[in-house]
């Protein structure tokens, strides 16, 4: 609960207002696009923003939370400065993807889905990046690193501070 208290004092609700306005009149049909825009604006879905969204739109907070938790894209915690996406598609899997994923976990000390304590990295796995010709492949922010071997991971991650 401490987090939501600090949220109250630190979160700017102006972006939320603009997002809701752009969808007026809001119906539950636009719930997912609104949540996507909130995440774009805030980097994640802060609880206080979702509660406020419920109040302003009349959509029950439980419904908002229920929908948001269903989809992998939404996150409820602040994210690291850099995002590592490790592809776990089939082509990457048969070309040694699992070793890459394990090496990333070992190198930053965080499992997939987590964020390092210093907020440097958020590490995610994705179903497929659709760049099978680069397999095995990861993305760090918007940069692709393809044809990887586990031994290159540390050197790649050092480029992101």
């Amino acid at each position: 609960m401490n987090r939501s208290l600090s949220d109250i004092t630190s979160v700017d609700l102006a972006p939320l207002g603009r997002i809701i306005e752009s969808h007026a009149p809001v119906s539950s049909n636009s719930l997912i696009p609104i949540l996507q825009q909130i995440q774009d604006a805030y980097g994640y879905l802060p609880k206080i923003v979702l509660m406020e969204m419920g109040k302003r739109t009349g959509i029950a907070a439980s419904q908002i939370y229920g929908v948001a938790t269903f989809y992998e894209q939404f996150c409820f915690e602040p994210r690291g400065r850099h995002t590592i996406k490790c592809c776990r598609g089939t082509a990457c899997h048969v070309k040694g993807g699992p070793e890459i994923s394990e090496e990333i976990e070992r190198a930053i000390g965080v499992e997939a889905g987590g964020t390092t304590e210093d907020m440097r990295f958020t590490f995610e796995t994705v179903a497929c990046l659709g760049t099978c010709f680069l397999a095995p492949v990861i993305m760090v922010d918007n940069d692709y690193y393809g044809h990887l071997t586990a031994s290159r991971i540390e050197e790649i991650l050092e480029r992101y501070t």
Binding site: S27, S28, N29, S30, L31, I32, P33, L35, Q36, G66, V67, F70, Y71, E72, Q73, F74, R88, G89, T90, A91, H93, V94, K95, G96, E99, E102, E103, R106, V126, A127, C128, L129, G130, T131, C132, F133, L134, A135, V137, Y144, G146, T149, A150, S151
Partner: protein, 614 residues
């Protein structure tokens, strides 16, 4: 692009003529893939060409065009030069001067950048085996046009089929034409598209919806992505024809958020089509109105299932519901709705253009037209491949794909993603179409085709797919939610060498039950990767269980890394080991501390002397 609206087929044809005239003023065009190839530096190649051609004053004669996927991803970044059709691969900014001098000024190919066959250069695109053995019908414009310019699409005949359908045919005639063409849904199940349209057309109601399913969630599939990125207008044109046929006034394209370039290109294409009066009220001067909204998926594989997809567009949790009622009767907002996949819509313009008979002449007896495959895995030429339905697996993997990387033996091809199966070598000469593939235990699926060699463990592949569907199961029905979890537990214990033959029997029984009892396509097909591998590679399962052996060297618990006397003491393994488990003096045989070893395999990969076994 003119800002005047197109109000008849004559308008469109006049515009096409004037655009063609403008295009013919260029003596040459440099086409650069700016979608997939962007990952390997295509942007700097495009900028380099523009700058250098500009500095030489050649930019009036030579056009630089940023295109979608040219197909041969294995040689990215790919550049194609018209009118000679020279195909260059692995192009870097350092190659630009030579290409300008040799090709653009003198018309000769730069042989060091071309594809090689038997060490001899093959310069022209259509002489390269990868393309020579394909039939590019749906992909004809992909890689030839700038997908962000509707002019490029119109110059190559875009939207003519839609306007002709709207002005020369009744909706019923369009439906009958598509039925006669034999087109079947490219999303995987292969239901006849025209019949589906007929259901939606006949369904009572004034308000009907059309949805394009672009939630390409199968790992290892990138056909829809390539189409949306490389030729979005073809998909929109197909949707206009479909909307007219069923009487829909509003459409959605539901696209994965993981495809930002596709989202961007569709957005631009829709805006341009609206400006020209090809979308919105009174399309091309007719009384028919239709518009399309883009919705981004939020990362849930189950939303590829049509009822789950509708729930997601309605703003809810993307969970499926029992059918009937089918979406054709009760879909989005309870209204009649028709859903087709991206590639299905992209097949519609050629059908309307050349007629059902010409289309039906392509393909096999019950599967008409072409199919696009995303060819990947242990194959030399990874890329986007379009072939007539009924082409053999051998032709796709060997003639087009160039065979297996490092010339190892072919073990299996995985077709159809998590809903599909593994096709073993004995079926290499089997035709790939909906019905033949189903007979050998796979499904056509959306078109991901992953090639596997002897280093792929088939039990591990089954575990991999089960892990995927298990985590993507929405949890609504018990067979899928609990059943796939139980199957995954058994597969994990087989991979860990802790299972019995009884467990294998349970696994097979569970698989059959889950297939029969699950609510939607996700659960009904989830056991397929297991069933097809148990059927075709049963000896590998037995080996894991009885001999505690993984012949492919993948299942970690069954491996033990050791260094043998042939070790030269080069130290490469010692340096690469992330946990310092390897010790040894220079030029002396090294050793692995088994307590420290995490079996990551990096030493095995780095050893040049085959001194490490597992």
């Amino acid at each position: 692009m003119p800002d005047k609206k197109i109000t008849s087929i004559k308008d469109l044809e006049a515009l096409q003529q004037s655009l063609r005239g403008k295009a013919e003023k260029f003596k040459a065009r440099v086409l650069i893939c700016m979608t997939g190839c962007r990952a390997l530096g295509a942007e700097s190649v495009a900028t380099g060409f523009r700058d250098k051609l500009g500095a030489l004053g050649l930019n009036k004669d030579i056009a630089v065009v940023e295109t979608g996927c040219i197909g041969m991803c294995a040689i990215a970044p790919v550049v194609l030069i018209e009118p000679w059709d020279y195909l260059y691969g692995h192009v870097s900014p350092d190659d630009i001067d030579e290409i300008i001098e040799q090709t653009l000024k003198n018309g000769r190919s730069v042989d060091r950048l071309t594809v090689k066959k038997n060490k001899k250069p093959v310069a022209k695109k259509n002489d390269v085996d990868f393309y020579r053995k394909q039939k590019q019908l749906v992909l004809e414009n992909c890689g030839r046009i700038d997908p962000r310019r509707i002019d490029d699409a119109i110059e190559r005949g875009g939207y003519a089929a839609a306007i002709r359908a709207l002005t020369e045919k009744t909706p019923d005639e369009v439906v009958e034409e598509v039925i006669a063409s034999g087109l079947r849904g490219r999303g995987g199940a292969g239901f006849p598209t025209g019949v589906k349209w007929k259901f939606a057309r006949r369904s009572p109601g004034d308000e009907k919806y059309l949805i394009c399913n672009a939630d390409e969630g199968d790992p290892g599939a990138f056909m829809d992505r390539a189409l949306l990125e490389g030729d979005p207008h073809r998909v929109i044109e197909g949707m206009i024809i479909a909307a007219y046929a069923i009487g829909a006034t509003k459409g959605f394209i539901y696209v994965r958020a993981e495809y930002p370039i596709a989202v961007e290109h569709i957005g631009i294409a829709l805006d341009e089509a609206r400006t020209l009066g090809l979308l919105g009220a009174n399309i091309a001067g007719t009384s028919f109105g239709f518009d399309i909204e883009v919705r981004m998926g939020a990362g849930a594989f189950v939303c590829g299932e049509e009822t789950a997809l509708i729930a997601s567009i309605e703003g809810g949790r993307g969970m499926p519901r029992p059918r009937p009622p089918f979406p054709a009767v009760k879909g989005y907002m309870g209204k009649p709705t028709n859903i087709n996949n991206v590639e299905t819509f992209a097949n519609v313009p050629p059908i309307m253009r050349s007629g059902a008979d010409a289309y039906a002449a392509i393909g096999s007896e019950k599967s008409k037209g072409t199919k696009i495959f995303a060819l990947a895995g242990k194959v030399k030429h990874t890329g986007l491949v379009e072939v007539p339905m009924g082409t053999t697996l051998r032709r796709i993997v060997y003639d087009i794909g160039g065979g297996i990387s490092n010339d190892k033996p072919f073990k299996a091809a995985q077709l159809g993603g998590p809903s599909g199966g593994c096709i073993p070598a004995k079926y290499l000469d089997c035709q790939i179409d909906y019905d033949s593939v189903r007979q050998i235990g796979a499904i056509m699926g959306s078109g991901g085709l992953i090639v596997m060699d002897e280093d792929t463990c088939m039990v591990d592949i089954a575990r991999y797919f089960l892990e995927f569907v298990q985590s993507e199961s929405c949890g609504k029905c018990t067979p899928c939610r609990v059943g796939t979890k139980k199957m995954l537990d058994i597969l994990r214990s087989i991979c860990a060498g802790q299972a019995t033959m009884d467990d294998l029997a349970t696994l097979e029984r569970l698989a059959e039950d889950i297939k029969k009892a699950s609510l939607c396509g996700l659960g009904q097909t989830a056991p397929n990767p297991v069933l097809s591998t148990v059927k075709n590679f049963r000896d590998e399962y037995v080996e894991h269980i009885e001999e505690k052996k993984c012949r492919a060297g993948v299942c970690k618990n069954l491996l033990g890394y050791e260094i043998f006397e042939v070790c030269t003491g080069c130290g490469a393994c010692r340096r690469v080991c992330p946990v310092d488990a390897i010790t040894g003096e220079k030029k002396k045989v090294h050793a692995i501390d088994q307590d420290k070893c995490i079996k990551c395999g990096q030493c095995f990969a780095v050893c040049k002397f085959e001194a490490i076994t597992r």
